[in-house]
Amino acid sequence: MKRSQWNENDIEELLKNLPNIKDRRHPKDIYQNIESRIHRKRSNNWIPLIAAMAALFVLAVLATSIMLGSNNSASEDRAIEKTEMERGSQSRKAASSQHAGTENNSSSTPNDQVAKSEDRHGAAEEKPSEEEVGINHGARKAYFIYQTNESSRKMLVSSHSEFPTIDKALEEMIKGSGDPSISPSIPKELKWDRVEEQDKKVILELSEGTKISDTEEYLTALEAILLTAKDFGFDYVKFSNANIDALGPYNLQEDVPVPIAPNKIN
């Protein structure tokens, strides 16, 4: 075959005779190119380096500020929580001392219950013993029982709507709001003939035959009434014709003071 005509020597000879390729440039030009390239290289090496360092610096600053920021907000949250707890316990103390004047404040349960009741939207399920939510003065709202499920604690929550008179609000508290998770706070058996407003006191004239029993149901109703009375600007609630002397810690034979708003939120 013609194709295998070349032996190694032929190829070696051909390779040795490959043309000499010359650099046609003048050495001065070459040197100039090198010089400028060295300079360019230097600046080229520095600029990205500086840029990278600047970027890293910015990143570091951003990262630290973000981390610090999250720390700050976390600690702020904790601080707020703490102050709320403190306020809560103070107001509980205040509430119970207030009751101490009228009653022997034997049990803390009703106070807790009152304290736990939420004034504005819905119940504060979590940390009810810590977060006592202030009562919004002049909101003129009714209070209902809020219970997320059978096993959870009952809590008092205020209505969304306001009422022109305490009379109307109390009526609503017997009927209920229609929301299944919000139930009436006053049992139908608790009846009154009229509601008399006397300056800082509201008098509920209980109907003949209305039997208040010392049960949680009535205690809750009493507290709901107290909170409602407070919303309407009263300091005391008097239950006339009460068949029992005491309901929980409350002395029904005397004027029952409304609970102190623990942490009023403006």
Partner: protein
């Protein structure tokens, strides 16, 4: 002008340029690379210890410059998915033939073209051994190989050139009467 530059230029510029040109087969690239060699040499000339000859030292710098050039040329995909294997990869540039008269000859042209079918290592050996007329041991020094590796690579390089030349001849279907054959 730098005295080191002048000295190297006078002694080795022709060889360095020639070596680089046949490695990359492109005049402009060779021009850039020979400058790169000067830059590297001027930066590290004081590190030249005289263990190897100045010439082999310069050739090894030139070869590294060429290798770096080819690395830069590869696409990011190639860089990502493969490490460049100098023994296997073949650098096929479709560069125009230099205008040199010697390459008007069919066989010279075929030999020149056949370098494309050699690996980077084979090409390096061919250039150093046949174009630069370096000895086996000098070539080994430039490449940092053992002499036996130079020999086997040289052998394979010649075979590759031969095969490539035969393939070209077959394709071109040019009669070979000009070629003395046995």
């Amino acid at each position: 002008m730098d005295s080191v530059f002048l000295e190297i230029y006078e002694k080795y510029h022709r060889d360095l340029f020639q070596f680089l040109f046949y490695l990359v087969k492109n005049r402009e690239t060779a021009e850039d690379l020979v400058q790169e060699v000067y830059i590297r040499v001027l930066k590290s000339y004081d590190r030249f210890e005289g263990k190897s000859s100045e010439k082999t030292w310069l050739f090894s710098i030139a070869r590294n410059a060429a290798i770096d050039h080819f690395r830069k040329q590869r696409s990011w995909k190639q860089k990502l998915f493969e490490s460049f294997d100098w023994e296997r990869n073949q650098i096929k540039d479709q560069q125009p033939l230099p205008e040199e008269k010697a390459l008007q000859n069919d066989n010279m042209r075929r030999v020149y073209k056949s370098l494309d079918d050699c690996t980077m290592d084979q090409r390096s050996v061919i250039i150093l051994r046949y174009i630069q007329s370096l000895s086996i041991s000098e070539t080994a020094e430039v490449l940092g190989w053992t002499e036996s590796k130079v020999k086997t690579t040289q052998h394979r390089a010649l075979k590759a050139v031969k095969k490539a030349m035969e393939e070209q001849a077959g394709k071109e279907e040019i009669p070979f009467e000009k070629i003395p054959m046995e």
